[in-house]
Each structure stands twice: as structure tokens, then as C-alpha cells.
Symmetry: C2
Subunit: 167 residues, 2 copies
């Protein structure tokens, strides 16, 4: 469930254009454009192009996009199936088949929890961990749009995102 989505529904309320010019809410610049909206639109545009490439990136490792996500998550330590389902924002029933396929390929293992015998903990195999290292290095490669930025922009961007993460 997406907890942030309800407060934004417009059921007879004022459309976004009206709010933008009303002077209520965030700062408005000289063009009458909400600054946050503009920055977000630009960021979205830049990130969208890159995110669309993610399936192809995962395929470089013969992983589906979701499998790549799982490999990434699982590096932090053992994870219960149900916890993984929460992280993936999907129903627990899907995790069974997902893990089945990854187990067949020797990437993950199911281990029964000793505390609660209903629970199965997932861990990366040695092969899975090795694959994860390569995947993380590949993910860490900045796309051209970032790599081509001048040093000043990179430093500003880094600092802005550091602050954003702290909030």
C-alpha cells in the first residue's frame, strides 16, 4: 500500500495550476512556476531515461529486474520471505516462485528459522554473493548525464542529496 497517495487526490478540489498561483504553499518564482515542481520534473526526466534501462542492465547478469532487486537487498543479511515481500511491495505468494527460480540457479538458499519454524530465512549463496558484487559495481557506474557534469555541479548535487537523505 502506498501511504503517500491519498492526500493528493483531487475530488472536486482545486487543480494544481490554481494552487501553484495562489501564493499558498511552497515558494513561487518569477514565472509563476512552483520551484519544487520544476526541479522534480527535470529530475524525473533525467532519472526516467536511466530507470527504463534497468531491465537491460539486469539482463547483463541474466537476472530479471526483480531478481536483480532481490540480489541487491539480500546482501545486507538474511531476510525472512515475508520481509522480502514487504520490500518488494508485493504479495507473499509471489516470493515463493521468485525464490524457487533463484534457488534453482544457485543464487539463494532457504534456511528454516530456529525461533519460529514457520519462517524461512533467505541468504545469498557464495555464487549469489559474487554476482551481487559485480551487480553493485555495475549499478554504481554513473550514467553519462551524471558523468559529464562539471565538478562544481557534482559537488552541489552530492551535498544536496546528502542533506535530503538526512531529512
Amino acid at each position: 500500500m502506498s501511504g503517500t497517495s491519498e492526500g493528493q487526490m483531487e475530488r472536486g478540489g482545486k487543480p494544481a495550476e490554481v494552487r501553484r498561483r495562489s501564493g499558498v504553499g511552497p515558494s513561487v518564482d518569477a514565472l509563476g512556476q512552483d520551484l519544487a515542481h520544476e526541479a522534480w520534473a527535470l529530475l524525473f526526466e533525467v532519472m526516467h531515461a536511466h530507470m527504463r534501462n534497468f531491465p537491460a542492465l539486469a539482463a547483463e547478469f541474466e537476472l530479471s529486474p526483480v531478481q536483480a532487486h532481490v540480489v541487491r537487498q539480500l546482501g545486507e543479511g538474511p531476510l525472512a520471505m515475508s520481509t522480502l515481500a514487504t520490500y518488494l511491495s508485493c504479495d507473499a505468494s509471489n516470493v515463493t516462485g521468485l525464490v524457487d527460480r533463484m534457488e534453482v540457479r544457485g543464487l539463494v538458499e532457504r534456511r528454516s528459522s530456529e525461533h519460529d519454524r514457520r519462517v524461512k530465512m533467505l541468504v545469498l549463496t557464495e555464487a549469489g554473493a559474487a554476482l551481487r558484487e559485480r551487480l553493485l559495481e555495475r549499478l554504481a557506474e554513473p550514467p553519462a548525464v551524471i558523468a559529464n557534469m562539471p565538478e562544481g555541479d557534482l559537488k552541489s548535487l552530492r551535498d544536496i542529496m546528502r542533506r535530503a537523505r538526512e531529512r
Copy 2:
């Protein structure tokens, strides 16, 4: 249950930092971290949570993620099926079923091209265009991580992304 299961504990580990080899790639700062890599990692982390929410956002309009993408693309004007396949980075055969489902829902129409009768052009119906307007407004809403930024950061971010887009 004291210390009985170190190996089974969930999320017990430390975040595995990606180690950067020095001397590889562009400039390296005092920490031995490549600046572009660091900025990219932060941006990726901040954006990742939001991008993962896209299926739920599309579902607010009873669209699959791909259908939402199509509605967005189709606003620019009529599009050949094959061109849409290129934009979606998928095989043309998939577009048939995709458009079938959207046509049944009255969101798009197929129109035979007059120049080349093999080609079918896709256009949004009136209902599809109306849905697109609502979808674009929803997509334009900045997530909390952006909306909560101070004005100075927002302006810097906007300017950096404007420059990046021009390159």
C-alpha cells in the same frame, strides 16, 4: 534466546559499502571516492524509493506501469505501433496485446496510415487524453524528499538538471 542464532538474524549486518579502486576513472577526492560515483549513488538511493512506487501510482488510474507509460508518450501525437515498441524497448509483438487492452478500455484508437497501409497509427481517445491530463498532474507532484528541500537546494538542483539536459 541469548546469542543462539547470529547467523540467522535479520538485517544484522553493516551496509556493504562499494569499494572504489583508486586510479580508475575520473578525478578522485580526498576520501578516495570518485565524485561522480558518489553523487550518483546518493541520487540513486534517494530516487529509488520513489521509482519503486510507480506501479502503485499507475494503479491509482487503473493502469499497469507500461500502460501509464504509453498514455504519457501518446500525448505528443499519433504514433506508429512500431515506434511505440521502440520507445518501450520491447518487441513489436507485445504492442499488439498492449494496445488491444487499452483499446477495449476506450483509451486509444488504431488508425490505418494513408501513406503506408501496413502501418497503424495510435491516438488517444478523448477519454484517454482526459486520463492523461490527470496522470501528468499526479506525476508532477514532487515526492516529500523534493518538496521538503530548502529553496536554495531546489534552485541549485533545478539549474544543475537544466544544464545536464542541455548537454
